[in-house]
């Protein structure tokens, strides 16, 4: 199956892609967070500088990049989360 998700970019990831968000990105589901990141890297190769620092957020929940499998639905938010620096 395929879901059309909303991908959000923050901080350095937004600078690297030149985008704040990308609508209706077709993504196979279920998918591991590692494969989801690889898919985003293929669309935006410059994101590779964030490799090993980034996590994702799926429906506003953090998901480390790894074997964890997520199930996505149309319109779900997937965010690229560079290292936090609030405060």
């Amino acid at each position: 199956m395929t879901a059309k998700v909303l991908v959000l970019f923050f901080a350095k990831s937004a600078e690297l892609t030149g985008l704040k968000q990308e609508e209706a990105v077709a993504v196979p589901t279920p998918i591991s967070s590692r494969d989801l990141w690889t898919l985003l890297l293929r669309r935006h190769p410059r994101l590779s500088v964030l490799q090993d620092q980034v996590v994702l957020a799926v429906r506003q929940q953090y998901v480390a990049i790894g074997d964890q499998v997520v199930t996505l639905g149309d319109g779900d938010e997937v965010a690229v989360v560079p290292p936090l620096s609030g405060g």
Binding site: A11, E15, Q60, L84, S85, G86
Partner: protein, 148 residues
């Protein structure tokens, strides 16, 4: 604490100057003897010969709100006497010397509130989706990363 008093957890992202008085007033309560406050400000700093003139903040706003609610649940589990929690955080441009975050916690006695406020700022830095980049006098910028 009066059984009837509803506990408040208030999180606000703001493009304006932060009012410490407003944060304090938000948590004050006749049942509380202690209000612990922390204010984080932009430090004047030199990085590799460049001078920091300010910070530019951004947030994943709805997720910041939901992570704040989780943080408050965690605080209340650790320190059940904590009464009210209020955090105001800046977005956008914050020039050197201005507050980027102001937080206050009220509690009947001071020890709980003082421990809770330290936990609150540490956990905010670790878990709430907020980012800042330093802006230098050379017009260059650099995204920061919280230690940890």
């Amino acid at each position: 604490m009066a059984e009837s008093e509803k506990r408040r957890d208030v999180f606000k992202l703001s493009r304006d100057w932060l009012s410490v008085q407003e944060v304090v007033d938000t948590v004050s309560s006749a049942s509380c003897g202690a209000i612990s406050v922390f204010i984080g400000t932009t430090r004047e700093d030199k990085v590799g010969g460049r001078k920091v003139i300010g910070l530019e903040y951004e947030a994943y706003e709805p997720m910041a709100q939901s992570e704040f609610r989780k943080l408050c649940d965690d605080i209340r589990e650790r320190w059940p006497t904590v009464t009210h929690v209020c955090v105001h955080h800046r977005l956008g441009w914050v020039k050197v010397g201005e507050a980027s975050v102001a937080m206050a916690i009220s509690s009947p006695h001071r020890q709980d509130g003082q421990q809770a406020i330290q936990h609150c700022i540490t956990q905010l830095k670790a878990h709430i989706p907020l980012w800042k980049k330093e802006v230098y006098d050379t017009q260059e910028t650099s995204w920061k990363e919280n230690a940890e």
